[in-house]
């Protein structure tokens, strides 16, 4: 009940002329400022990977729709050109309510329509605040979180069923404790792991080596709440010392791709969004993101504070070469497009002209989407 997401409201009006996001629209600048609907299959996939969050306003509209921002198109271009420009390793940053989680959702939607495999960690805090079981992996300093990996495999199987049903395993997997038929589909492989948490981690490793084999589609990995995995977790080891987040196998897996240590042979993208509402403060993460922005803009380089004791070396190493996409406010045109969609859906009962758009935009701290929504849709007068 807490996580229940309602995506449709029959009291809202059907918006005529709402185009659905499709493959040829990804990275196309002409759609900036327009709201695109999501196809049924895309919505199913996004729901299966838990991309929709309960506190977002999906339950107000007839169908889910996303605004195409300038940053959405930028990410779309990066998704289209991963072969020439390399696999993008992006961190989405921005103030609270700027639209980072929704940008992740748009990216996942674009990956779905392009026929990619999507792996999502909807809430990174579930991995580090000691609410799931953990077991040490023998002979390694790592820990595996079997229950979480089992649910992750179930989500992957459900969301990517159209692709994974058609692919069969092509390699031998000696690490998997149970016997595998030589011609099972990858979605069946995931389901085997989902059903039995004891073997979930070996099956995840087997699945990953299968989808990174040659000839497989590109992969999008997304994570929401980056700071949680860049610090110490709430778990303790046998000597009662806190376990660093990077000592968990599934987090180590994500971070090794985010940092560039491992690369996706068939291409794809690695995206991570920070959480600016209640994530742990990490001086290393802030510094790394600032340095990344400066590297991109070519500005002054912020040095490390020599007197600061709370830096985290592992977090610094992980974020040394990521790209940062800082989300600010919407432009007035984007805000207008969004508010027109709201008015057409019947949830915004105002005339959408230059004055009202400017008013809502200014009140929202120069266009922070979350604040525009709060001011326009959620104010109860």
């Amino acid at each position: 009940m807490r996580k229940r997401v309602v995506l449709s409201n029959t009291n809202a009006l059907e918006v005529e002329g709402l185009q659905d996001l499709s493959k040829n629209m990804v990275g196309d600048k002409q759609y900036i400022g327009k709201v695109l609907g999501l196809q049924g299959q895309t919505v199913d996939g996004l729901r299966a990977v838990e991309a929709f969050k309960a506190q977002q306003g999906w339950g107000l509209f007839r169908r889910p729709g996303v605004l195409v921002r300038e940053e959405t198109v930028r990410i779309g271009e990066r998704l289209n050109t991963f072969k020439t420009n390399g696999v993008p390793r992006l961190v989405l940053d921005g103030n609270r309510g700027a639209g980072k989680s929704l940008m992740l959702l748009s990216s996942m939607a674009m990956a779905f329509v392009k026929g990619w495999i999507v792996v999502n960690f909807p809430e990174a805090q579930e991995l580090t605040n000691a609410v799931t079981e953990y077991t040490p992996i023998p002979d390694t300093p790592l820990y595996s979180q079997n229950a979480y990996v089992a649910t992750l495999l179930a989500a992957i199987a459900k969301a990517n069923s159209t692709i994974l049903d058609k692919l069969e395993i092509s390699q031998k997997h000696p690490n998997v404790p149970i016997p595998l038929q030589s011609n099972i589909t990858l979605s069946r492989l995931c389901e085997l792991g989902a059903r039995d948490p004891e073997i979930a981690w070996p099956i995840f490793e087997a699945f990953w080596s299968e989808i990174t084999a040659s000839g497989r589609p590109p992969i999008l990995m997304a994570l929401d709440g980056l700071q949680y995995i860049m610090t110490e977790s709430e778990y303790h080891d046998a000597n009662f010392k806190k376990i660093h987040a990077h000592d968990f196998a599934i987090i180590q897996h994500f971070v090794s791709y985010l940092s560039g240590k491992k690369s996706l042979p068939n291409g794809g993208a690695i995206l991570a969004a920070t959480s600016r509402s209640h994530a742990p403060k990490s001086k290393s993460v802030e510094l790394a993101l600032q340095q990344a922005l400066e590297r991109q803009d070519g500005g002054l380089f912020t040095e490390k504070d020599p007197w600061e004791k709370t830096y985290d070396a592992r977090a610094e190493m992980a974020l040394a070469s990521v790209e940062v996409l800082k989300l600010g406010g919407l432009s007035k045109d984007e805000a207008r497009g969004l508010m027109e969609y709201w008015a057409q859906s019947g949830v915004l009962r105002q005339r959408v002209d230059e004055r009202t758009v400017a008013e809502k935009w200014a009140l929202a701290g120069n266009g922070i989407v979350g604040e525009i929504e709060r001011g326009a849709l959620r104010t109860r007068i």
């Binding site: 000691a130 609410v131 953990y134 040490p136 820990y143 778990y235 303790h236 046998a238 000597n239 009662f240």
Partner: protein
């Protein structure tokens, strides 16, 4: 050895002979023992790689048996009570100031006695039982 836990028939965790229900949190069950609070229970769980929200039914009985064995090695329950009682007895028998305060039921740690001595009157005893 604490007699509250030794149970050779099954490997369930028991307090005063009564087993805990399976859906109870392990952390909470451990804290019902005299001498185990938030810190010690966290340490015990960490030693066996159990997360704090785990229920008794989710952990294999082998681990429960190991926890019981671990608990029987610690001074808890009656062993701990005896220890505290002996400490107070020692203070009294050697005629120390603290021993006399325990015997009179007055504050031991240098607090004011003009008022605010209700807790001392209630708790400080020479024949301390629990």
């Amino acid at each position: 050895m604490s007699t509250a836990l030794l149970n050779t028939k099954s490997s369930s965790l028991r307090h005063n002979g009564v087993p805990f229900p399976e859906n109870r949190l392990i952390k909470k069950s451990l804290e019902t023992f005299y001498g185990i609070g938030a810190h010690q229970s966290s340490r015990i769980l960490a030693k066996f790689n159990i997360f704090p929200g785990a229920r008794l039914g989710s952990v294999p009985s082998k681990t429960i048996a190991a926890i019981s064995a671990d608990l029987s090695q610690m001074t808890i329950e009656n062993d701990l009570r005896k220890q505290v009682r002996d400490n107070i007895k020692r203070l009294r028998d050697m005629g120390s100031y603290r021993g006399r305060r325990h015997a009179m039921g007055l504050p031991v740690r240098g607090q004011r006695t003009r008022s605010q001595i209700a807790t001392a009157r209630k708790l400080n005893r020479a024949d301390w039982k629990a």
